[in-house]
Symmetry: C2
Subunit: 316 residues, 2 copies
């Protein structure tokens, strides 16, 4: 058995995972990221005890523990180099964790872990696998020949921060026009609000009255009902997402691209136009083409991926 720990800015989620990537038991607790980091590690350890006991197992059954972190990690030394959302800089998290539970730990970037989780459960025979997560930002994880690609310094795979529109929308990273400023759910919400301000008659206003606010689903839901303004927002957003995916396919030629994040619940509504756009615009027209699909694990990808990456320990 394996433990996967998904340490996020909001919650600490821990799962006991079998060798096939199935979650046997899971538990979570708020991260409360303002407290001392050693307290967070203590909770990670107690949740590990909890899920192990809940499944009628004990620590001797755990081979290795994987931790996924939203930030740059130094895997070799088990150190969080920098995780802005956790207020962590140069934190020796593995050493601290092993004071509580002395089992080998593998530290991984959370987007890499999620990508590995999807790769593992969807089909681990696939050659080159790219996961694009559309959320608050745009995250990415790359698996090449079964190995997580990290870059030479552990900071690779920041696909959300490639400029697709020079001089465009201001990004949190300081540049203008990053993919994430057009294709994240945050961007979609901004695009939706802008259109609503322009068009007082769109159905989206009513949707917001009912649901209490603009979300990533506002435009998609209203577009499905035939609202012209919503269709415009949705289709333009999908074009942005697809433009970045073509960029990444031209660079990586992965066998599979998996789209994750809440908006991927839209399934074929999102996928079909992306596939069409990619087919029309990708550079490669002769060799076999990339398959594009949605995530299977959703919120559990972090737990499963951290656990299975720790099990396999194969990195580039």
């Amino acid at each position: 058995m394996y433990i996967g720990i998904d340490l996020g800015g909001t919650n600490i989620a821990v799962g006991l995972v079998d060798k096939k990537g199935n979650i046997i038991a899971q538990a979570s607790t708020p991260t409360l990221r303002e407290r001392p980091w050693t307290e967070i590690v203590k909770d990670m350890a107690s949740l590990t005890h909890k899920v192990t006991a809940a499944a009628g197992k004990n620590l001797a059954d755990i081979k290795v523990i994987g931790i996924g972190i939203p930030g740059n990690i130094d895997n070799e030394n088990g150190v969080v180099v920098r995780a802005a959302n956790l207020n962590m800089t140069n934190v020796p998290i593995v050493e601290e964790f092993r004071k509580h539970i002395d089992i080998p730990v593998n530290l991984e970037n959370d987007a890499n872990a999620a990508a590995y989780g999807e790769y593992f459960v969807q089909d681990p025979r696939r050659d080159n696998f790219l996961m694009v997560t559309l959320g608050t930002g745009v995250g990415g994880g790359i698996v090449i020949k079964g190995k997580i690609f990290r870059g030479f310094n552990g900071a690779g795979g920041e696909i959300g921060h490639h400029v697709i529109h020079e001089g465009g929308e201001k990004c949190t990273c300081g540049r203008r026009g990053c993919y994430e400023t057009y294709a994240s759910v945050t961007a979609l919400i901004n695009q939706t609000k802008k259109k609503m301000a322009e068009d007082p008659d769109t159905r989206m206003h009513k949707w917001v009255d009912i649901h209490g606010g603009v979300t990533g689903f506002t435009a998609f839901d209203c577009a499905a009902k035939g609202d012209a303004a919503a269709i415009e927002v949705r289709d333009k957003y999908i074009t942005y997402v697809a433009e970045g995916i073509v960029n990444l396919i031209n660079i990586f030629q992965p066998e599979t691209v998996v789209i994750g994040g809440g908006i991927s619940y839209e399934g074929e509504t999102l996928l079909a136009p992306i596939r069409e756009f990619v087919k029309k615009h990708e550079f490669n027209k002769q060799a076999p083409r990339t398959q594009i699909q949605v995530a299977a694990l959703f919120n559990n990808a972090g737990i499963v991926g951290a656990a299975m990456a720790a099990k396999k320990q194969k990195f580039l």
Copy 2:
């Protein structure tokens, strides 16, 4: 000893290469791409005999032969899937070559071969290596942990075809705003011509009168003399190049980026502002940073890289 063959749209260049990547003898002949491809293969074989004899060696001294091709290749079957500049589609080039010289052959994309050549001679211990070639188009080659990265279908690494300006300049690939439409030498020439049309007083007109036409050096040469219009063209062009390099660093985090192509002769004039731009705009600010330098092999990278890639036979 090894043979490296750089089969281009204009010339066939063949070199005898030692195990350290030094070219011992080389020869070339025009490709004449309109003729039957079997004739081209015949010339590749006769140049191989020629350079071997020129070095006082014979075919028994050749361990393996590498061929670099500007197009998609099927390495396993030794087939050129598609090479537009050679008018080749599904051509069994290795089988045909071995009718003339029966020595094992490794087929490689030419940009991958060039990247591998630079990697090999600059420092083969470097972890993740990206070569960006600024020429007629923008080519790319990626070496990860000592292995050439090809993508699952052999068509990966088309970094020139990632959109940096959505809706921008029309690209030969059919999209708008590809990196290559801003950062290639072709793009620089267009940018130079546009500025010259706007500004009848720029020194660049005189440069063109002397040199017979606009080249990639027009703006760089006149900028060095203090011409304001030329400085504007040069600096804007360098910004375009740097924008794409930041994109690629954020995605790959290579230990080294090497810039190749004729314009890389500019050396520090090109590199210094790129380094400054990258330092300011790259996403990673904590982990070790990418080194940026110019190519060492220039036109010989294809020969050396094809030969050394064939020697090593390590691919992703």
